[in-house]
Symmetry: none
Subunit: 116 residues, 2 copies
Amino acid sequence: MTPLDLDSTLAALAEPTRRRVVDYLRRGPRRAGELADHFRVSAPAMSRHLRVLRKSGLVEERGLDEDARVRVYRLRAEPFHELEVWLEQIASFWQTQLIAFKAHAEKHAAKRARRK
Amino acid sequence: MTPLDLDSTLAALAEPTRRRVVDYLRRGPRRAGELADHFRVSAPAMSRHLRVLRKSGLVEERGLDEDARVRVYRLRAEPFHELEVWLEQIASFWQTQLIAFKAHAEKHAAKRARRK
DNA sequence: GAAATGATTAACCTTATAGTTAATCATTGT
DNA sequence: ACAATGATTAACTATAAGGTTAATCATTTC
Protein backbone atom coordinates (compact mmCIF):
# COMPACT_ATOMS: atom_id res chain seq x y z
CA MET A 1 0.00 0.00 0.00
CA THR A 2 2.70 2.47 0.94
CA PRO A 3 5.56 1.50 -1.34
CA LEU A 4 9.03 1.47 0.07
CA ASP A 5 10.09 3.42 -2.98
CA LEU A 6 8.54 6.55 -1.59
CA ASP A 7 10.61 6.22 1.54
CA SER A 8 13.76 6.02 -0.49
CA THR A 9 12.69 8.91 -2.71
CA LEU A 10 11.89 11.13 0.24
CA ALA A 11 15.02 10.14 2.11
CA ALA A 12 17.08 11.09 -0.92
CA LEU A 13 15.31 14.42 -1.32
CA ALA A 14 15.45 15.27 2.37
CA GLU A 15 19.14 16.08 2.27
CA PRO A 16 19.45 19.77 1.30
CA THR A 17 22.46 19.37 -0.96
CA ARG A 18 20.84 16.52 -2.79
CA ARG A 19 17.63 18.43 -3.30
CA ARG A 20 19.61 21.32 -4.70
CA VAL A 21 21.40 18.97 -7.04
CA VAL A 22 18.03 17.83 -8.28
CA ASP A 23 16.98 21.45 -8.77
CA TYR A 24 20.19 22.14 -10.63
CA LEU A 25 19.76 19.14 -12.90
CA ARG A 26 16.57 20.69 -14.23
CA ARG A 27 18.88 22.76 -16.43
CA GLY A 28 20.05 19.58 -18.05
CA PRO A 29 22.48 16.70 -17.51
CA ARG A 30 25.70 17.53 -15.70
CA ARG A 31 29.03 15.89 -15.08
CA ALA A 32 29.81 14.64 -11.58
CA GLY A 33 32.77 16.97 -11.17
CA GLU A 34 30.74 19.92 -12.33
CA LEU A 35 28.23 19.26 -9.56
CA ALA A 36 30.92 18.93 -6.91
CA ASP A 37 32.41 22.26 -8.01
CA HIS A 38 29.11 24.05 -8.17
CA PHE A 39 28.08 23.00 -4.69
CA ARG A 40 31.51 23.57 -3.14
CA VAL A 41 31.72 20.07 -1.88
CA SER A 42 34.48 17.50 -2.23
CA ALA A 43 34.25 15.06 -5.11
CA PRO A 44 33.81 12.06 -2.81
CA ALA A 45 30.98 13.72 -0.97
CA MET A 46 29.19 14.49 -4.22
CA SER A 47 29.86 11.00 -5.46
CA ARG A 48 28.08 9.55 -2.48
CA HIS A 49 25.17 11.93 -2.85
CA LEU A 50 24.87 10.86 -6.44
CA ARG A 51 24.89 7.23 -5.41
CA VAL A 52 21.96 7.86 -3.08
CA LEU A 53 20.10 9.68 -5.82
CA ARG A 54 20.88 6.89 -8.25
CA LYS A 55 19.70 4.14 -5.90
CA SER A 56 16.43 5.91 -5.36
CA GLY A 57 16.07 6.26 -9.11
CA LEU A 58 15.94 10.04 -9.06
CA VAL A 59 18.90 10.30 -11.40
CA GLU A 60 20.61 8.05 -13.85
CA GLU A 61 24.20 8.00 -14.93
CA ARG A 62 25.56 7.75 -18.42
CA GLY A 63 29.10 7.57 -19.64
CA LEU A 64 30.33 10.04 -22.18
CA ASP A 65 31.33 8.63 -25.56
CA GLU A 66 34.13 11.11 -26.02
CA ASP A 67 35.68 10.48 -22.63
CA ALA A 68 34.89 7.32 -20.73
CA ARG A 69 36.14 8.75 -17.45
CA VAL A 70 33.39 11.31 -17.32
CA ARG A 71 30.02 10.44 -15.78
CA VAL A 72 27.01 12.46 -16.69
CA TYR A 73 23.95 12.56 -14.45
CA ARG A 74 20.42 13.39 -15.45
CA LEU A 75 17.01 13.37 -13.80
CA ARG A 76 14.61 10.44 -14.10
CA ALA A 77 10.89 11.09 -14.13
CA GLU A 78 9.48 8.01 -12.47
CA PRO A 79 10.08 8.70 -8.77
CA PHE A 80 8.75 12.20 -9.16
CA HIS A 81 5.61 10.84 -10.68
CA GLU A 82 5.18 8.41 -7.82
CA LEU A 83 5.60 11.23 -5.38
CA GLU A 84 3.06 13.27 -7.27
CA VAL A 85 0.55 10.44 -7.12
CA TRP A 86 1.03 10.14 -3.41
CA LEU A 87 0.63 13.88 -2.95
CA GLU A 88 -2.63 13.80 -4.82
CA GLN A 89 -3.87 11.07 -2.52
CA ILE A 90 -3.02 13.25 0.44
CA ALA A 91 -4.71 16.21 -1.18
CA SER A 92 -7.93 14.25 -1.40
CA PHE A 93 -7.98 14.37 2.37
CA TRP A 94 -9.27 17.90 2.59
CA GLN A 95 -12.37 16.96 0.73
CA THR A 96 -13.39 14.45 3.34
CA GLN A 97 -11.85 16.11 6.37
CA LEU A 98 -14.97 17.55 7.90
CA ILE A 99 -16.96 14.35 7.60
CA ALA A 100 -14.18 12.27 9.10
CA PHE A 101 -13.77 14.62 12.01
CA LYS A 102 -17.44 14.51 12.80
CA ALA A 103 -17.47 10.71 12.80
CA HIS A 104 -14.46 10.62 15.07
CA ALA A 105 -15.88 13.11 17.51
CA GLU A 106 -19.13 11.20 17.72
CA LYS A 107 -17.37 7.90 18.32
CA HIS A 108 -15.51 9.32 21.29
CA ALA A 109 -18.53 11.12 22.60
CA ALA A 110 -20.24 7.72 22.66
CA LYS A 111 -17.32 6.17 24.52
CA ARG A 112 -17.37 8.88 27.14
CA ALA A 113 -21.09 8.51 27.60
CA ARG A 114 -20.74 4.74 28.12
CA ARG A 115 -17.99 5.20 30.71
CA LYS A 116 -20.09 7.52 32.81
CA MET B 1 14.20 30.69 -4.74
CA THR B 2 14.29 27.34 -3.05
CA PRO B 3 12.50 27.96 0.23
CA LEU B 4 13.94 26.49 3.36
CA ASP B 5 10.45 25.31 4.14
CA LEU B 6 10.74 22.64 1.56
CA ASP B 7 13.79 21.24 3.31
CA SER B 8 11.91 21.00 6.54
CA THR B 9 8.90 19.45 4.83
CA LEU B 10 10.97 16.82 3.09
CA ALA B 11 13.01 16.10 6.20
CA ALA B 12 9.81 15.53 8.13
CA LEU B 13 8.37 13.25 5.47
CA ALA B 14 11.59 11.31 4.98
CA GLU B 15 11.17 9.41 8.23
CA PRO B 16 9.05 6.31 7.48
CA THR B 17 7.01 6.41 10.66
CA ARG B 18 6.21 10.05 10.17
CA ARG B 19 5.18 9.53 6.58
CA ARG B 20 2.88 6.74 7.70
CA VAL B 21 1.42 8.98 10.35
CA VAL B 22 0.65 11.48 7.62
CA ASP B 23 -0.96 8.73 5.55
CA TYR B 24 -2.96 7.66 8.55
CA LEU B 25 -4.14 11.18 9.28
CA ARG B 26 -5.85 11.21 5.91
CA ARG B 27 -8.60 9.30 7.65
CA GLY B 28 -9.12 12.27 9.89
CA PRO B 29 -7.70 13.90 13.01
CA ARG B 30 -6.33 11.57 15.66
CA ARG B 31 -5.28 11.78 19.28
CA ALA B 32 -1.57 11.56 20.08
CA GLY B 33 -1.98 8.40 22.09
CA GLU B 34 -4.03 6.77 19.39
CA LEU B 35 -1.17 7.31 16.97
CA ALA B 36 1.40 5.89 19.36
CA ASP B 37 -0.74 2.80 19.83
CA HIS B 38 -1.41 2.32 16.16
CA PHE B 39 2.22 2.50 15.18
CA ARG B 40 3.43 0.40 18.10
CA VAL B 41 5.78 3.07 19.27
CA SER B 42 6.22 4.58 22.72
CA ALA B 43 4.30 7.73 23.55
CA PRO B 44 7.45 9.85 23.84
CA ALA B 45 8.70 8.69 20.47
CA MET B 46 5.42 9.59 18.85
CA SER B 47 5.37 12.88 20.67
CA ARG B 48 8.69 13.80 19.15
CA HIS B 49 7.59 12.75 15.69
CA LEU B 50 4.56 14.93 16.09
CA ARG B 51 6.71 17.84 17.13
CA VAL B 52 8.74 17.50 13.94
CA LEU B 53 5.59 17.33 11.88
CA ARG B 54 4.18 20.32 13.73
CA LYS B 55 7.32 22.42 13.24
CA SER B 56 7.30 21.75 9.54
CA GLY B 57 3.66 22.71 9.45
CA LEU B 58 2.47 19.36 8.14
CA VAL B 59 0.15 18.90 11.07
CA GLU B 60 -1.48 21.11 13.61
CA GLU B 61 -2.51 20.34 17.13
CA ARG B 62 -5.76 21.22 18.81
CA GLY B 63 -6.91 20.63 22.33
CA LEU B 64 -10.12 18.82 22.92
CA ASP B 65 -12.86 20.82 24.59
CA GLU B 66 -14.16 17.87 26.55
CA ASP B 67 -10.75 16.89 27.92
CA ALA B 68 -7.91 19.38 27.96
CA ARG B 69 -5.30 16.66 28.41
CA VAL B 70 -5.97 15.22 25.00
CA ARG B 71 -4.19 16.59 21.93
CA VAL B 72 -5.69 16.01 18.55
CA TYR B 73 -3.56 16.21 15.43
CA ARG B 74 -4.68 16.92 11.92
CA LEU B 75 -3.09 17.54 8.55
CA ARG B 76 -2.39 21.01 7.22
CA ALA B 77 -2.59 21.64 3.52
CA GLU B 78 -0.02 24.35 2.98
CA PRO B 79 3.26 22.40 3.00
CA PHE B 80 1.76 19.80 0.70
CA HIS B 81 0.83 22.51 -1.72
CA GLU B 82 4.33 23.92 -1.63
CA LEU B 83 5.71 20.51 -2.31
CA GLU B 84 3.30 20.09 -5.18
CA VAL B 85 4.41 23.39 -6.70
CA TRP B 86 8.03 22.33 -6.49
CA LEU B 87 7.23 18.99 -8.04
CA GLU B 88 5.53 20.70 -10.94
CA GLN B 89 8.60 22.82 -11.49
CA ILE B 90 10.67 19.68 -11.62
CA ALA B 91 8.18 18.07 -13.95
CA SER B 92 8.51 21.00 -16.31
CA PHE B 93 12.03 19.76 -16.90
CA TRP B 94 10.84 16.92 -19.09
CA GLN B 95 8.79 19.31 -21.14
CA THR B 96 11.80 21.46 -21.90
CA GLN B 97 13.80 18.37 -22.66
CA LEU B 98 11.09 17.33 -25.07
CA ILE B 99 11.07 20.76 -26.71
CA ALA B 100 14.84 20.67 -26.99
CA PHE B 101 14.61 17.26 -28.58
CA LYS B 102 11.98 18.42 -31.03
CA ALA B 103 14.05 21.43 -31.99
CA HIS B 104 17.01 19.18 -32.46
CA ALA B 105 15.02 16.72 -34.54
CA GLU B 106 13.59 19.50 -36.70
CA LYS B 107 17.00 20.96 -37.25
CA HIS B 108 18.15 17.63 -38.57
CA ALA B 109 15.00 17.20 -40.60
CA ALA B 110 15.72 20.57 -42.22
CA LYS B 111 19.26 19.47 -42.95
CA ARG B 112 18.00 16.34 -44.57
CA ALA B 113 15.48 18.29 -46.62
CA ARG B 114 18.13 20.71 -47.83
CA ARG B 115 20.37 17.89 -48.82
CA LYS B 116 17.66 16.34 -50.93
C1' DG C 1 -6.76 16.28 48.00
C1' DA C 2 -4.88 12.00 46.11
C1' DA C 3 -4.73 8.87 42.34
C1' DA C 4 -5.02 8.26 37.56
C1' DT C 5 -4.62 9.76 32.79
C1' DG C 6 -2.78 11.91 28.40
C1' DA C 7 0.98 13.90 26.73
C1' DT C 8 5.46 16.07 26.71
C1' DT C 9 10.28 16.79 28.12
C1' DA C 10 14.74 14.93 30.13
C1' DA C 11 18.54 11.86 30.04
C1' DC C 12 20.71 8.29 27.90
C1' DC C 13 22.20 5.05 24.22
C1' DT C 14 22.85 3.49 19.58
C1' DT C 15 22.99 3.91 14.84
C1' DA C 16 23.02 6.30 10.51
C1' DT C 17 24.91 9.79 7.71
C1' DA C 18 27.53 13.66 5.85
C1' DG C 19 32.06 15.46 5.58
C1' DT C 20 37.03 14.98 5.20
C1' DT C 21 41.61 13.08 3.25
C1' DA C 22 43.99 9.21 1.30
C1' DA C 23 43.93 5.36 -1.74
C1' DT C 24 42.27 3.04 -5.90
C1' DC C 25 40.52 2.41 -10.61
C1' DA C 26 39.98 3.45 -15.32
C1' DT C 27 40.96 6.27 -19.06
C1' DT C 28 43.41 9.75 -21.61
C1' DG C 29 47.37 12.16 -23.41
C1' DT C 30 52.39 13.02 -23.97
C1' DA D 1 55.48 3.59 -20.33
C1' DC D 2 54.09 7.40 -17.33
C1' DA D 3 51.91 11.40 -15.61
C1' DA D 4 47.51 13.47 -15.29
C1' DT D 5 42.51 13.42 -14.97
C1' DG D 6 37.66 12.17 -13.54
C1' DA D 7 35.38 9.67 -10.45
C1' DT D 8 34.57 6.28 -6.94
C1' DT D 9 35.61 3.61 -2.77
C1' DA D 10 38.03 3.15 1.87
C1' DA D 11 38.82 4.66 6.45
C1' DC D 12 37.87 7.70 9.89
C1' DT D 13 35.45 11.46 12.60
C1' DA D 14 31.68 14.15 14.19
C1' DT D 15 26.99 15.06 14.69
C1' DA D 16 22.17 14.39 14.22
C1' DA D 17 18.12 11.40 14.92
C1' DG D 18 15.32 7.82 16.64
C1' DG D 19 14.17 4.65 20.43
C1' DT D 20 13.79 3.67 25.27
C1' DT D 21 12.62 4.50 30.32
C1' DA D 22 12.08 7.83 33.98
C1' DA D 23 10.52 12.27 35.40
C1' DT D 24 7.39 16.21 34.90
C1' DC D 25 3.15 18.82 33.88
C1' DA D 26 -1.66 19.57 33.45
C1' DT D 27 -6.09 17.92 33.84
C1' DT D 28 -9.60 14.91 35.28
C1' DT D 29 -11.87 11.65 38.40
C1' DC D 30 -13.03 9.62 42.76
